[in-house]
Structure formats: C-alpha cells, structure tokens
C-alpha cells in the first residue's frame, strides 16, 4: 500500500512547547539570585597559647621569644613607635623588613625563621585591629613577584595581661 504525503503534511513543523521550560528556568534563576550572598573571604591566624601548667621542661635550644610592645592612647589608638628587641619602628612594613634582616631568608627546618617566636605585649585598651596588624606584620610578607605568602615568624603568642595595662 502506498502512502501519499500531501504537501501540507510535509510543511508542518513540530514545535516544542517552550513556555513551561522557560517558566522553570526563570524560577531557578530567581531562586539562585535570591540565595546568592557575596561574602568576603575570611582567613585565620593561628596563635599559640599553651596552658601555663603544660610548660614542662623548657627547651634549651629554643630561643627566647622576641617581645613586641604596642602602646595605646586613651582612645585606644596605637601610639608610634612600636618596640621590638629595644628597636623602635614607625611603621609595620619597617618592622617586617627588620625581621627579614634578623631572621634571614632561609625557611627550611632548623632555620631561624622556623624557631622564631614573637610575644605580643599590648595595652588592654588598644583596639584589636592594631593587634591584628602587628600579627600580620610579623607573620610574614607577600612576595611581590609571585604574590605568595612568605612566612616569617610562625609562632605568635599574647603576653599575659598585666594589671592596669
């Protein structure tokens, strides 16, 4: 048996229903836009705060920690200069440069950088952001060429708070 296609049958296009798909796609889009949240990247600084009782026998090979002193005015603002190892600094980058000179560029095991420790002494009313800036300055620097973090002092701790500080 022979089927004859009429001209009208050949011309007919099968059209997909786009409307439900577009509906769903827009719903998805709205959902993602509504739940989207721009969050700034956060990072951590590890600080060493060993328990007083866990001191045990002090390690003879361990160098004593360098003491960094930060003082505050009555408003809690940082007062320059800051003092490390009896040296005064007028900026945090100057402090970083001093530490680079002091600890050298080697960062392997057994190097001065690996065992270096900084103890932060600060006034109780000093604003916390200055303490973080100081930690930022002593913990390392960004390599200007590669943009990677070059660690400087891995161990940072807070000095016990003194009364009335």
């Amino acid at each position: 048996m022979k089927f004859r296609h009429t001209a009208s049958q050949l011309d007919e296009k099968i059209e997909l229903q786009m409307t439900p798909m577009i509906d769903i796609v827009f719903q998805l889009l709205v959902f993602f836009i509504m739940t989207f949240k721009i969050v700034a990247q956060e990072g951590d600084f590890n600080i060493r705060m060993p328990l007083a009782s866990a001191g045990g026998v002090p390690d003879e090979t361990q160098l004593p920690p360098m003491k960094l002193y930060l003082t505050a005015d009555s408003q809690g603002e940082l007062q320059w200069p800051i003092v490390l190892n009896e040296q005064s600094f007028d900026s945090f980058p100057a402090l970083t440069q001093y530490l680079i000179g002091l600890l050298g560029t080697e960062s392997g095991p057994g190097s001065a950088r690996e065992s270096a420790e900084v103890e932060l002494h600060f006034d109780a009313n000093l604003r916390y952001e200055y303490v973080v800036k100081a930690i930022d300055a002593v913990s390392g620097q960004l390599d200007p060429q590669t943009g990677r973090i070059v660690e400087l002092v891995p161990k940072i701790r807070f000095a016990p708070q003194t009364a009335g500080g």
């Binding site: 889009l29 993602f32 969050v39 960004l142």
Partner: protein, 145 residues
C-alpha cells in the same frame, strides 16, 4: 473591487539567545552558591589582614566565639559576658569528654570586632585557657592590598 484577505501568521521571536543567557546565569549562580552554614554575626566587623590563611578544611571541633565591640561574647547564639561564658565552655568540655576528646582537640575560633579593646579578647582567651582550651585562631577578613 475585491480585497483578498491576507493569511495571518503568528510572528515568533527567536528565544534561543535568551535561553542561552538564562542558562549561563543559572550556571553562574549555581557555581557560586554556598550552602555552608556561615558563622557570621551582624554587627561584627572583622579586622583586615593580607596574610591570613583561609582555613584549609573544615576544623574537627570548632567552637566559634563572636566578640562584639563592647566585649560581649556570643556563643551558640547566646550573648553572654565573660562570667556567663564559663558555663558554656564547661558544657563544651563535657560534650568533648562524651565524644572521648579533650579540650585540646577543639579549636576556638575568635571572631572579634576590630574596634573592641584587645584586652577583652585577651580576657576571652584567658577564660578559655582556664577551661583547658589551648588552640586558638583569630579570624580576620582577607584584604587584597
């Protein structure tokens, strides 16, 4: 004169570019969406630092303490002062002991406001130390400069 009636045709716009764009947008938002429970608290402005490292992975037993501008601590959704923090920490220690862990296994994440006096943060750390916690991280915002 006889006017011949024109055949009416439905003008259909080409939907393909629009659908392409919409799918691209969906893909963009799908990739960027983050369903993880953010530990943020409104009203706390973290200090910024260039060298802070993003957490390498989820911490084993993190305890997040938010310290606001006045030095009040928020733990587990409750705002407490320094004395009020102690029962919460004892509770955390008990939970750790039940899980056969010690306070040294937990990490205290301190999210302190940049304007809080640093002595208040130090007080919070001291109270945690008194409850045998000794691992601390200071959480900051990463600055790009």
């Amino acid at each position: 004169m006889r006017i011949r009636r024109k055949e009416t045709k439905i003008q259909e716009g080409d939907l393909t570019p629009m659908i392409d764009m919409t799918f691209q947008l969906i893909a963009f938002f799908m990739v960027l969406i983050n369903f993880t429970q953010t530990e943020q608290l409104e009203g706390i402005y973290l200090p910024t630092a260039a060298l802070a490292k993003p957490p390498e992975g989820p911490m084993e037993t993190p305890i997040t303490l938010h310290v606001d501008r006045q030095g009040l601590v928020t733990i587990g959704g409750q705002q407490v002062d320094l004395n009020g923090l102690v029962p919460h920490l004892i509770n955390e220690v008990n939970v750790l002991v039940i899980r056969k862990k010690s306070p040294s296994d937990a990490t205290i994440i301190i999210r302190a406001d940049r304007r809080v006096p640093a002595g208040k943060v130090q007080d919070v750390i001291r109270v945690c130390q008194e409850n045998r916690f000794d691992r601390f991280v200071l959480r900051v915002l990463q600055s790009t400069d």
